[in-house]
């Protein structure tokens, strides 16, 4: 179990509990957090679950894999270091306190 904070583009924060094993994308969905679309349902096939991992968490979360990096090139908002597909980040106890920022749009 971990607490994950999602920060919408307008600054609104949502701090929610996400079970270990769920992805950051699922955490957003299960808590009705706007800003993540996940058109393909979490298969790493669409780039509409794009999120920016907060600076202080980037090392712990780790970089995107090669296929994920390729998908991120199709993200609608600019990508930067910390850009990840939230469906590819699996929550664990180690990520307790994780903060992710959501882009203005996924499309």
């Amino acid at each position: 179990m971990a607490f994950v904070t999602y920060v919408e583009h307008d600054g609104t924060e949502h701090k929610v509990e996400v079970p270990a094993g769920d992805t950051v994308m699922q955490g957003a969905f299960n808590n009705m957090i706007e800003g993540i679309v996940a058109e393909c349902g979490g298969g790493g096939a669409c780039a509409t679950c794009h999120c920016y991992v907060a600076d202080e968490w980037i090392d712990k979360v780790g970089p995107p894999s090669e296929p994920e990096q390729q998908m991120l090139e199709f993200a609608s908002d600019e990508t930067r270091s910390g850009s990840r597909l939230s469906c590819q980040i699996t929550v664990s106890d180690e990520l307790n306190g994780l903060v992710v920022l959501l882009p203005e749009s996924q499309f």
């Binding site: 969905f29 679309v37 058109e39 393909c40 349902g41 979490g42 298969g43 790493g44 096939a45 669409c46 509409t48 296929p67 390729q70 998908m71 090139e73 199709f74 609608s76 499309f107």
Partner: protein
């Protein structure tokens, strides 16, 4: 026009309130067939938010019918409530039953199969086919450009996707005409005998191919499936067959129908053709908007539990259909939905459904459509529908015009 008089209402389960029963003849009734997209778009205005539609055709399922974008997305995102098990309306022998993979598999098992092919259908992987698609489009145009006319569906719409499909699967192009006749026989023959025979022929061919790819692996999709070892274990023969056969059903008729709709629209809208030619940088949005207004298929589900949506109490075992084309006309999401506007703010369209079962071929379909529009308009910028043509639509699970005769 109401068909209630011809429905045996005693077969409708007790829990379905009478005021929600509206047989609309989706995919089969005369009103639908007269103008399918207008009919489906109007449902949002003329019918309750969720209603129950008994089928006019006894072979098809009665179903809760969902037309609003938000509701469709909810259904698609919750496979634990709305399962795809048994969803493909294809008869299978009970003692030789197979699942259509990956569509009819629920998560978490679903990902085991889907993950095998996701890399081959990513935007980047699909981009490598662009030159090939362009070449095939031009080869087809070569066959009719100097005749000043063509029957688009037969001369281009049918063979183009089949060619690309064969290429992707690792099958020989010489099989193209045979595949075309099998696809037509299976999906558009209106005869159970012909459909059954086509199914047998396809099955026999695919079994042969699977054997061959087992012995001689290559880079194609079929070989990838045959040799995949998700979780370290190879797939069973039945799984391989169910996967490959599903790709056959899923990948051919849909692109065919979509291209046919689009070129019919292009034929009837000369100023818009020019607009497309004049704004090549906007092509992706053009494709997306045309996919929005001409999406061609539906998502069927079965309730795994009793569930209430917007006051409608559905029961475990009930069937449900998401009318994807209707949801793409939802005015809550797409302002002036019947307007074909290539400068809309982008939002996810439901042409390819959504959620875990969202169409794996979506990126490929988009690329095919983009290339076909570009090449056809480049070589034949001015064309029209042949005079006195009356457009008719195929009944069935993929909506499209039967013939689109063009002249230039």
């Amino acid at each position: 026009m109401t068909a209630t008089a011809t429905i045996d209402t005693s077969r409708i389960a007790e829990h379905v309130p009478a005021d929600l029963v509206h047989p609309i003849g989706l995919t089969e009734g005369p009103e639908f067939l007269a103008a399918p997209h207008k009919f489906m778009a109007d449902l949002l205005k003329t019918h309750p938010r969720i209603f129950y539609s008994p089928s006019l055709d006894p072979r098809m399922k009665d179903a809760w019918t969902v037309t609003h974008y938000e509701d469709v997305y909810f259904v698609l995102r919750h496979p634990e409530i709305f399962t795809t098990r048994g969803a493909v309306q294809f008869p299978r022998e009970p003692d030789n039953y197979f699942d259509f993979i990956p569509l009819e598999i629920d998560p978490p098992l679903h990902h085991k199969y889907r993950g095998i092919l996701n890399p081959m259908f990513s935007p980047k992987a699909v981009a490598e086919l662009e030159d090939n698609i362009r070449q095939r489009a031009n080869d087809l145009i070569d066959t009719f450009i100097y005749q000043g006319e063509c029957e688009f569906t037969a001369d281009f719409g049918r063979p183009l996707p089949v060619s690309i499909f064969l290429e992707l699967m690792g099958l020989p192009q010489e099989m193209r005409d045979t595949f075309v006749s099998w696809a037509v026989g299976l999906l558009h023959s209106q005869s159970r005998e012909i459909a059954a025979q086509s199914m047998q022929d396809i099955a026999a061919y695919l079994h042969k191919v699977i054997k061959e790819k087992t012995q001689n692996p290559d880079d194609g999709v079929i070989s990838t499936i045959v040799h995949a070892k998700p979780n370290g274990e190879p797939l069973t023969d039945k799984e391989i067959f169910g996967f490959v056969f599903f790709l056959f059903i899923g990948g051919l008729d849909t692109v065919f129908a979509t291209l046919n709709h689009i070129f019919l629209w292009l034929a009837e809208n000369p100023e818009r053709r020019q607009e497309i030619i004049d704004t090549p940088d906007n092509l992706s949005n053009v494709v997306e908007e045309l996919l929005r207004v001409y999406s061609v298929t539906f998502s069927g589900r079965t309730l795994t539990q009793d569930y209430e949506m917007h006051g409608v109490k559905m029961k475990k075992g009930d069937h449900l259909v998401c009318v994807l084309p209707a949801a793409n006309y939802d005015p809550n999401v797409f302002e002036n939905p019947t307007e074909v506007n290539f400068h809309r703010p982008r939002k996810p369209i439901l042409a390819f459904a959504g959620g875990v079962h969202s169409c794996m071929g979506a990126h490929l379909a988009r690329l095919e459509i983009k290339v076909c529009i570009t090449e056809f308009l480049r070589r034949i910028p001015n064309f029209q529908l042949k005079e006195s043509t009356k457009i008719e639509y195929w009944p069935g699970g993929v909506v499209g015009p039967k013939a689109v005769p063009l002249t230039w």
